[in-house]
Symmetry: C2
Subunit: 425 residues, 2 copies
């Protein structure tokens, strides 16, 4: 029986989860692959912290060089996150012919193309199933089974933190602030939650998904992005009245030779496969000309993401064993044009915060009318005369540019304090 | 550019769907694989029938030998269905070194192990993504990403016909008979619907799923099976009252070194990922020690299943190109013991059809009590004195053997006309 040696860089949640899942069925996996699998080096900066898993002392190290420079290590698990110094380390490992398995979405989204081409040049491989949707096997499906599909759309709940917050707001009527505190209390949100709540994390995942779906390079910076910090419980309530549920979605759609790329809150119809996905769960909906598929599962967690990493490790070992590295190379070399957001056509829910005085509704509605934005539904709740109140307008389908022009006029009205927009569908 | 030659056996829904999906992105797929893909022979018994796709006359044939005996054909698509003569034809094609791609669940469930070993001996391969869940990429996920997972359970809505009928009954209050007629009218059910409505089709798919999940041989004949022909609209209504939805599920669970294997109607909790899957859609829920994943999509249809076939064809071509056939061989060589149904422990909904006369409820309840079956809920609807009526009993968790003993006593009561059982969970 031949042996595979694995080095793990970063012994946090995912690093430890990967080793735990691997050890759980180690004998079975070894028998199925006819290959011994040894974790020979685990590198971490701080060995004082309490860990859920005990390691033999001889594998512990603190210098990434002890993995990169060790020619006996064929697979490196990168689980330190972020672009710096991960990019340099991964680059060197790939150049040294090692296969790298990583859940690092930021790294893959921003530097994946470069790393994949370094891998191809050096006969090594880069796997990143854990980078999108945690334990959901979406990367393999897109690179494999659906690689022949003519994909029109991918839409995902790809951030568990924001989905938890929105679910809390929906189920308990909590404010954003109190739902965020609950998420932080449970360890679902960071003390500084910007990366999640402002949608940055979702843009990384969307860049990866879209590049696989549409066989095209996708620049993270070109993804339109809105977070969930401005969402009110009333928005969710109004969504419910109309038969929708509010979700933060990452959406990529191919329209002709253009690509729509956007992360923002969406009113999702309750019969859409993504509507029932609540809490920290993630789900990804993929529509091609031949089939619509939804993959749902845990978006994070050491063992769930660890299982995705182990799936990648097994793929990597099979490719070594059968001498077919590079077999499922990413075909993301196209260059689709990114469609400007102004060209998006959809329905919109517009919430205006305006003084409750005579003629307000008519004045706002008139501004929509002037720009040819027609209304599908309006809701003005019972309010206190003279106090500001939220009035909701649901438009018919309209081009974003036209809607934004009308919103510009509405914002300029003296009775209007604020205007907030949520897209539908 | 090298060329791949494909022969298609059977030009029905799936055969034509496969060719259509393949042609749809042919140039792109060829460029990505750097390989020309030619459908050089399509064999069908009857070329008079109207088809959704026109073929050049030179590829049309009527003799399977023209595929099996043609050494230039490397991949055979088998789309004729059934075991006989498909088994012999596939066997000969595999022996001739051809890779076979098939959506034939009965063939794979009953003879898959034998065919896989013939493939392994002859350096050929057998792919069968389309055999379970139509366009849902569950086979690749189980053979690939989740092959390292310690899977505890797989549960699926794997038959679109029965899911459509149950959805019709649930959404419209239809009887089984009228929902079946509607399914037949839409082409979702065969004129003789036994294979679907009695659960045979689901057992084939469960055998395939379970063998992949649990790395074990699974004998179709050992799967416990009940269909949906005895379901009443009132059963679905009672499920709804209790917070459940009624589904025909195919379930395999590992309990220690034993395997539960069963296909029957189930009261599914409305917050289960399978609960929201209605109509002809299919979905498969897979739970491992590390993650719970749900894959949802079209369970049938020419293009959906055709897309799964094309996914397999691309895998097959990659394995030829990289000279790594056999790379993802099925590891289904274990032999788990099938747990007898009497050992199942779950909750049960028992519907008794009994005369509405004094003391009936007490007499039935007493029989449960004598066997130690405790009740969680009871419902006796308003009825006409002296007429038979349906009384529902929901038990707490109890072993099947004990429940069946109590049902034996209940059936023997002079006031009881019929007893029907639906499992919960």
């Amino acid at each position: 029986m031949n042996a595979i040696h694995i080095g793990v860089l970063g012994f946090g949640t995912v690093g430890a989860g990967t080793i735990k899942v691997l050890w759980n069925r180690k004998e079975d996996i070894e028998r199925e692959l006819n290959m011994a699998i040894n974790v020979t080096r685990v590198v971490d900066a701080d060995w004082e912290r309490e860990r859920p898993l005990a390691l033999p002392p001889e594998v512990k190290g603190s210098n990434p060089e002890s993995i990169i420079e060790d020619p006996s290590i064929q697979i490196m698990v990168e689980a330190i996150g972020g672009v710096d110094p991960a990019f340099e380390i991964v680059k060197r490992a790939l150049r040294a012919g090692k296969t790298v398995v990583t859940p690092n979405k930021e790294l893959v989204a921003k530097r994946g193309r470069e790393l994949l081409s370094i891998a191809a040049e050096n006969g090594s491989e880069l796997f990143f199933e854990g980078a999108v949707g945690g334990g959901i096997p979406v990367i393999q499906v897109l690179k494999g089974q659906m690689s022949g599909d003519d994909i029109c759309e991918v839409a995902g709940i790809v951030n568990g933190t924001t989905n938890f917050i929105l679910s809390e707001m929906s189920q308990r009527g909590s404010t954003y602030e109190s739902a965020l505190r609950e998420a932080q209390r449970r360890g679902y949100a960071e003390p500084t939650p910007t990366n999640d709540v402002e949608g940055y994390d979702a843009t990384y995942k969307l860049a990866i998904l879209a590049s696989l779906c549409f066989h095209s390079r996708v620049d993270v910076e070109k993804i339109y992005r809105e977070g969930i910090t401005g969402i009110l419980p009333e928005d969710i309530e109004y969504a419910r009245e109309l038969g929708y549920i509010l979700k933060l979605l990452a959406i990529a759609r191919k329209e002709g030779e253009e690509l729509e790329l956007r992360v923002h809150p969406v009113f999702v119809s309750t019969d859409h496969p993504l509507a029932g996905v609540s809490g920290v769960e993630n789900a990804i909906f993929i529509r091609s000309t031949a089939r619509s598929i939804t993959l749902r599962g845990p978006g994070a967690g050491g063992e769930a993401t660890g299982a995705a990493m182990v799936g990648d490790i097994i793929e990597a070992i099979l490719n070594m064993k059968y001498n077919c590295r590079g077999r499922a190379d990413c075909a993301c070399q196209g260059e689709l044009t990114i469609r400007p957001m102004e060209h998006l056509t959809t329905q919109y829910c517009v919430r205006t915060h305006a003084l409750d005085c005579p003629g307000v509704l008519a004045r706002v509605a008139a501004e929509f009318g002037k720009e040819g934005v027609s209304l599908s539904a309006v809701k003005q709740p019972v309010s206190t005369p003279g106090e500001p109140t939220n009035i909701y307008f649901l438009t018919h389908e309209v081009e974003e540019a036209r809607l934004q022009r009308s919103l510009g006029h509405i914002r300029a009205l003296d009775v209007v304090r604020d205007v907030f927009t949520i897209r539908v569908g």
